[in-house]
Amino acid sequence: MDTDRTTAPKHAADDFGELFDRHSRPLYIYLARRTDETVAEDLLSETFLIAFERRALFDRDRTQALPWLFGIATNLLRRHRRQELRGYRAMSRSIEASHVDPPNASDDRLDMRRALGGVARALAQMPTAVRETVLLFAWAELSYEQIATATAVPVGTVRSRLNRARTALRAVPGALETLTGADHG
C-alpha cells in the first residue's frame, strides 16, 4: 500500500516538496470543484503550509498523508462555505430560469442541465458534514476509512452520512435516468 510513513512525521523542507508533488493534484482538483480555480490555488498552498506548521502533530500511526491533507483542506473550505453555497444556489437558479431554452438546444442537453441543477440544489440543502462526506467520496474518491480520518469521525458515521446524502440525491428528479440513458416516458 502507498505509504507516507517515512516522510510524514518530521518533514524536512525537501520532503514536503515531495509530499506536495505527490498529493497536490487530487487536492487541487477537489478544492477547485468546491470553489474555483483561483481560490483553490490559495487553499492548496494554505493546506500545505498548515500541514508543514503542524508536522510535529502528525500522528505517527497514520500511514497515509493524503486523508490528513484532505482533512486540513476540508477545514479550510469551511471558511468558504457561504461562497460555495452561493455557487450551488446560483447554479440551481440559473437552470430553473432556463425553462425557456434556446430553440436549438437538444432535449438531452436540457435534461442534463436540469438534472445537474437538481444536484446543485440537493448539495445546497445538505448539512455541511453530509456534503463534505459525499464530496470526499464522489469527487476526491477517498475510501470510507480515509474519509473517517479526514473528518475525524468513526467509519460508521461516514457510512450513515453517505446514506443520507444518497437519499437526498436519489430524490433529485430525473438525475439518474438522464445520465444513464434510461427510458423516458
Binding site: 448539495l123 440525491l169 430524490a171
Partner: protein, 351 residues
C-alpha cells in the same frame, strides 16, 4: 450506476481541465507555499486572496454510457398472465390474516439489499474492470403507535460475489471491497442504530419528502379503486422514468414499508394488473430464500429492468430486483444489479 453518477458529473469540467492549466495552478500554489514556508513572518504572503465568485463554468458533457445491445427478454406469457398472477395475489392477500400488534409490540420490517459495486474505472470514466456484490440490511421496528419512536438498524455485510476481467482486476475488486469495508460484517457498528419519532428518519432532515411522494401517513387516504390508485401511483415524483416503471417502483416502495393494510395491498395488485406492458418475466424467481413470480415492465434492449416478486398463493410481497440491461465491465447483461427482499414479523422488543 447509482445516485452518485449525477453528482460525479457536476463540475466535472474542473477534473478535465487541460494538463497545462492544472500544471500552472499547481506550480503557482507550490511557489506560494514555498515562499510562505521560508518567510513565515511576511504578512503580505500570508494574505489570502479571495476573489469574487466566478460564474460557474458550463456544464460538463453528458456521461457517456456504453450501451451494448442485448437481446430483450421475451416474456413467456402474454400480458393477461401477469394480470392473472396479480389478481390471484390480490385475492390471497384479502384472505390472509394481517399481523396484529399488541401494546408494546413492534412490526419488524427487514429489507435485505444486495447491490453491485463496480470498481477499477479510471477517475471520471465508466470503464470498470471489476465488481462485487455488496449486501446490506435495514431492519425497522415500527411501534403500534406509529407516532412514537421507530428504531432502525442499518449495516453492510461481507461482499459476496466478485466479478473480474483479469486476476489483477479480481484483486483490485477485493481490495476496493476492503477499502469500502464491504469485506467485513458491520452489525453493531457505532451509528448503525438510529431512532426517529413517527418514522421521520434522515430524509426529513435533508428537506423533507418531495412533493407527491407517498408516505405511511398517506396510506389511509389512498384510493382503493384500482384505476384511481394507479393514477395516484403514477403521480410520484420520478421524472424521466416511464409511467409503468414509475408505478411499479412506487407500488413496491409502498409494499416494502410493511404498513400497507390488506385491502390496500390487494388494491395495489389489482392496480398493477391494469398496466398494459407488465409481463411475467420469470415464474420461479428466488429472492432471499423465497420463491415467487417476477413481474416487470417490457424494456428496450440495453435498458435496466425493474421487477417485483410476488407470492401469488399467499399474496406476500417478496421484494424487488433490477436486471442490468447492458454489460458493464465484466458484469454481463441480464445480471441482477440490485435486489431488495422484504420480510415482516411481529416482535415484542426493539434494540
Amino acid at each position: 450506476m447509482d445516485e452518485l453518477t449525477a453528482l460525479r458529473e457536476y463540475r466535472r469540467e474542473i477534473a478535465e481541465l487541460p494538463e497545462l492549466a492544472i500544471t500552472g495552478h499547481l506550480e503557482r500554489a507550490k511557489a506560494r507555499f514555498t515562499t510562505r514556508r521560508e518567510n513565515p513572518h511576511d504578512a503580505r504572503t500570508k494574505q489570502a486572496r479571495i476573489p469574487a465568485l466566478r460564474v460557474l463554468a458550463p456544464i460538463a458533457a453528458a456521461a457517456v454510457v456504453a450501451v451494448i445491445a442485448v437481446s430483450v427478454l421475451v416474456p413467456r406469457h402474454s400480458d393477461s398472465a401477469a394480470a392473472a398472477v396479480l389478481h390471484r395475489a390480490a385475492d390471497a392477500t384479502v384472505a390472509a390474516a394481517p399481523p396484529a400488534l399488541a401494546p408494546g409490540q413492534y412490526l419488524r420490517v427487514i429489507a435485505t439489499e444486495s447491490s453491485l459495486a463496480y470498481v477499477g474505472a479510471p477517475s471520471g470514466t465508466d470503464d470498470y474492470t471489476g465488481a462485487y456484490v455488496s449486501p446490506s440490511v435495514t431492519a425497522t421496528w415500527i411501534p403500534k403507535d406509529q407516532k412514537s419512536t421507530w428504531v432502525r438498524e442499518q449495516y453492510v455485510e461481507r461482499a459476496t460475489t466478485f466479478y473480474d476481467e483479469t486476476a489483477a482486476a479480481a484483486a483490485s475488486a477485493a481490495e476496493q471491497a476492503a477499502a469500502d469495508y464491504a469485506s467485513e460484517p458491520h452489525q453493531g457498528d457505532p451509528d448503525s442504530i438510529t431512532r426517529a419519532k413517527g418514522g421521520k428518519f434522515s430524509n426529513g432532515e435533508l428537506g423533507g419528502d418531495p412533493d407527491g411522494e407517498i408516505t405511511p401517513a398517506d396510506l389511509p387516504s389512498l384510493p382503493r379503486d384500482p384505476q384511481k390508485l394507479l393514477d395516484r401511483l403514477a403521480q410520484v415524483p420520478d421524472a424521466g422514468v416511464a409511467r409503468s416503471e414509475r408505478v411499479l417502483t412506487a407500488a413496491s416502495d409502498l409494499l416494502a414499508t410493511g404498513l400497507v393494510p390488506a385491502e390496500l395491498q390487494s388494491a395495489i395488485y389489482d392496480a398493477l394488473a391494469l398496466l398494459p406492458d407488465l409481463v411475467v418475466t420469470r415464474h420461479q424467481a428466488a429472492l432471499d430464500g423465497r420463491t415467487g413470480t417476477a413481474l416487470g415492465v417490457k424494456s428496450k434492449p440495453g435498458v435496466d429492468r425493474t421487477e417485483i416478486i410476488v407470492d401469488d398463493t399467499t399474496g406476500s410481497y417478496i421484494g424487488r430486483r433490477t436486471i442490468q440491461g447492458a454489460a458493464v465491465g465484466p458484469v454481463p447483461a441480464g445480471t441482477v444489479s440490485s435486489s431488495t427482499a422484504v420480510s415482516i414479523a411481529v416482535t415484542s422488543d426493539a434494540p
